[in-house]
C-alpha cells in the first residue's frame, strides 16, 4: 500500500469509526470536547504508525483502544481519578455480567447507547442551532471542520471557532453525557430531529449561493437519519423524518435541469425519480404509522410527499388528501408557512381563486414579510387567474427576496412570461 492509499484508508476508517470512538471515550471522561480531542490524538497516532506497520486487521478496535488508553492516562493525572475508578469498576462488573449470555449483543447495545448519548449531547438545547448542526456533522457524521465549512459556505476559521465554542459551552454548562428520560425525552428528540432536517434542507434547497442543491449535505443528513432510526427504532417521529428525507431525496435527479436551473415539482420528469429511495421512504412512513405516529409533524409531512411519490403524473395527485394532511399539520403545528402550503394544495384541488382567498390574509403577517415563497405563490395564482401585471410584480418581489441565484433566475423568467402573456 502506498502512503496515499494508507492515508485514504485511515480517513475511511475514521469516517466509519469516529462517532463510536468519541462516544466510547466520552462515557469515560464525561466531556464530549475532551473525548473528541483524545480520539483525534489516537487518529494522529494511527497516521504515524500505520504507514510503517500497515493498517491493522481491526483498525476500529485499534483506534478505540488507543483513545481509551489516552482517556485513562488523562484521568490518572486528574483529580477525577478516584471517583471514575469506582465507576469504571462498576462498569467492568456490569460488562462481565452481561458477557455471560451474549457478549456481542451486550457490547453492541452499549455502543448504541453511547452513540445515542452523543447525539443528544451534540444537539443539546444549551447550544445555538448553528452550533448543534456543526457539532452533529463533526461528531456523528465524521466530517472534517473543513468539509463542514465548505458545505455551509463559511470560512474555515469561523467554522473551527464555532465548533470550539460549542464544545466549551457544553463543558461549562456541565451537560451530562446521557440520554434524557421521561418527559424531557420528547422535547430533546425533537431538537435532534430538527438538526438533522436542517442539514438535509441546507443541502436540498441551498439557502444561499449559486447552487440549488448540495447533494453531499443531503446524503449526510439521510445517513444520520438512518443511523438514528436504528438507534431509536421505537420512536415513530424518527421514522417519519427518515421517510420525509428519503422521498424528498428521491427527486433530486429530477429537480435540477441540465444547466443547473431548478425544476418545480409538477414540471419534473417523474421517470427520473429514484424508485429505490421512494420505496425506502414509503417503508419508513409505514413504520412510523405502525408505531402509532401517523399524526406526528414529520410523519404528516412525509405523508404529503408520499402522495406525490405515489402519483404517476401530476394529474393523478390526490390534492384533496394533501389539503386534509396540511389541515392536520396546521392543527398540531400552526404556522403561516404551512398555511401557505395548504393554500397551494387548495389551489390545485379547487382552483386558484379559492387559494388566493387563503393567501391574501397571509400578506399582512410580519413573519412572512421577507419570505420569498409568499409572493412567488401569489404570483403563480394571479398568473393562473390572468391577472398578469399583478403577477409580474409578485414574481419580481420574490426574486428580490430570495438569496439563491438559481431561484432568482427562475422567478425573473416567470416575471418576463407575465409580460408576454399580457401582450398576447
Amino acid at each position: 500500500m502506498t502512503a496515499t492509499e494508507t492515508h485514504q484508508a485511515i480517513n475511511a476508517v475514521w469516517r466509519i469509526e469516529s462517532a463510536r470512538i468519541i462516544a466510547g471515550v466520552a462515557r469515560i471522561v464525561g466531556d464530549v470536547g475532551q473525548a473528541e480531542d483524545l480520539a483525534q490524538d489516537a487518529l494522529v497516532a494511527a497516521l504515524e504508525t500505520w504507514p510503517r506497520s500497515g493498517v491493522p486487521d481491526n483498525p476500529g478496535a485499534w483506534l478505540m483502544t488507543a483513545a481509551k488508553n489516552r482517556a485513562i492516562d488523562l484521568l490518572r493525572r486528574d483529580k477525577r481519578l478516584e471517583l471514575k475508578h469506582q465507576q469504571l469498576g462498576h462498569e467492568l462488573e456490569a460488562q462481565r455480567e452481561m458477557a455471560v449470555p451474549d457478549l456481542d449483543r451486550g457490547l453492541d447495545d452499549e455502543v448504541g447507547d453511547d452513540l445515542l448519548r452523543l447525539v443528544f449531547t451534540a444537539c443539546h438545547p444549551v447550544l445555538s442551532t448553528e452550533a448543534r448542526v456543526a457539532l452533529t456533522l463533526r461528531l456523528l457524521g465524521g466530517l472534517t471542520t473543513d468539509e463542514i465549512a465548505r458545505a455551509f459556505l463559511i470560512p474555515l476559521p469561523a467554522m473551527a471557532q464555532r465548533i470550539v465554542r460549542a464544545k466549551k459551552t457544553l463543558a461549562e454548562a456541565r451537560v451530562p453525557f446521557e440520554v434524557p428520560r421521561g418527559a424531557e425525552l420528547a422535547a430533546r428528540l425533537a431538537s435532534v430531529l430538527e438538526v438533522v432536517y436542517l442539514i438535509f434542507n441546507e443541502g436540498y434547497s441551498a439557502t444561499a449561493g449559486d447552487e440549488w442543491l448540495r447533494p453531499a449535505l443531503c446524503e449526510d443528513a439521510l445517513r444520520l437519519g438512518r443511523i438514528l432510526a436504528e438507534l431509536a427504532p421505537g420512536e415513530a417521529e424518527v421514522h417519519g423524518l427518515v421517510a420525509l428525507m428519503e422521498i424528498q431525496a428521491s427527486r433530486s435527479r429530477a429537480r435540477v435541469g441540465p444547466s443547473g436551473e431548478p425544476i418545480l415539482l409538477l414540471d419534473q420528469n417523474r421517470g427520473r425519480w429514484d424508485q429505490l429511495l421512494i420505496r425506502r421512504g414509503l417503508a419508513a412512513l409505514q413504520r412510523a404509522e405502525r408505531l402509532g405516529g401517523a399524526a406526528g409533524p414529520y410523519a404528516l409531512q412525509a405523508a404529503i410527499v408520499a402522495c406525490h411519490a405515489r402519483a404517476r403524473s401530476p394529474e393523478e395527485t390526490d390534492w384533496a388528501r394533501i389539503v386534509e394532511i396540511y389541515g392536520a399539520l396546521a392543527r398540531i403545528a400552526p404556522s403561516p408557512v404551512i398555511e401557505l402550503n395548504r393554500a397551494v394544495a387548495v389551489g390545485m384541488a379547487s382552483g386558484p381563486a379559492a387559494a388566493l382567498e387563503l393567501v391574501d390574509p397571509l400578506t399582512a403577517l410580519p413573519a412572512l414579510r421577507t419570505y420569498h415563497l409568499l409572493p412567488s405563490v401569489r404570483g403563480d395564482l394571479l398568473f393562473k387567474l390572468g391577472r398578469f401585471p399583478e403577477a409580474k410584480a409578485e414574481f419580481e418581489r420574490a426574486a428580490a427576496l430570495t438569496r439563491n441565484g438559481r431561484e432568482r433566475d427562475l422567478l425573473l423568467k416567470r416575471a418576463a412570461a407575465c409580460v408576454e402573456s399580457s401582450t398576447h
Partner: protein, 140 residues
C-alpha cells in the same frame, strides 16, 4: 456517492449450494452493521445462473439463451448498494465482510452531477421532449 458491491459467483453458488447457518448468521451480522451505519441501501443474493437467461441483441435481432452459463467467475451471485463518502470507505467496509474465498467488485454508481458538462444540449432536448410527452399523456 453510491457503490454497487458485486459478489462474484463460484462453483458452490452456481451449483445452488445454500450458505450454512453459520455463514448466514455471520452475513446477517455484517448486514446489521451496514444498516446501523446508514450505509446499506439495498442488497440481494441471486439464484444460480441455471435459473436465469440471457437476451442477446445482435444487428437488431434478439436471441434468448437459457442458463446455466459457463464462465463462472464472470457471473454475479449477489450485490449490495451502499451509500458511502468515498471509494476508500467502501473498500474499508468490504474488508469487514465475513468472506473467506471470494472476489468482490466495487463499482461507483453514476449520479446526476457526474454527467456535468456531458449533459449536452441534445440530452437536454431529449429530457424536455420526455417531459412534454408526459404532460401530454397526463392531459388525455
Amino acid at each position: 456517492m453510491r457503490f454497487m458491491v458485486i459478489v462474484k459467483a463460484d462453483k458452490k453458488s452456481e451449483a445452488g449450494v445454500l450458505p450454512t447457518r453459520q455463514e448466514l448468521a455471520e452475513m446477517g451480522k455484517f448486514n446489521d452493521e451496514l444498516v446501523k451505519a446508514g450505509v446499506m441501501l439495498a442488497g440481494e443474493g441471486l439464484h444460480a445462473s441455471s435459473k436465469g437467461a440471457r437476451v442477446r441483441f445482435s444487428g437488431g435481432k434478439q436471441t434468448v439463451i437459457d442458463g446455466p452459463f459457463a464462465e463462472t467467475k464472470e457471473l454475479v451471485a449477489g450485490f449490495w448498494l451502499w451509500q458511502v463518502k468515498s471509494k476508500a470507505e467502501a473498500i474499508e467496509w468490504i474488508k469487514r465482510a465475513p468472506f473467506k474465498d471470494a472476489e468482490i467488485e466495487l463499482r461507483q454508481v453514476f449520479e446526476a452531477e457526474d454527467f456535468g458538462a456531458e449533459f449536452t444540449p441534445e440530452l437536454k432536448q431529449q429530457e424536455e421532449r420526455q417531459r412534454a410527452q408526459m404532460a401530454g399523456q397526463g392531459r388525455k
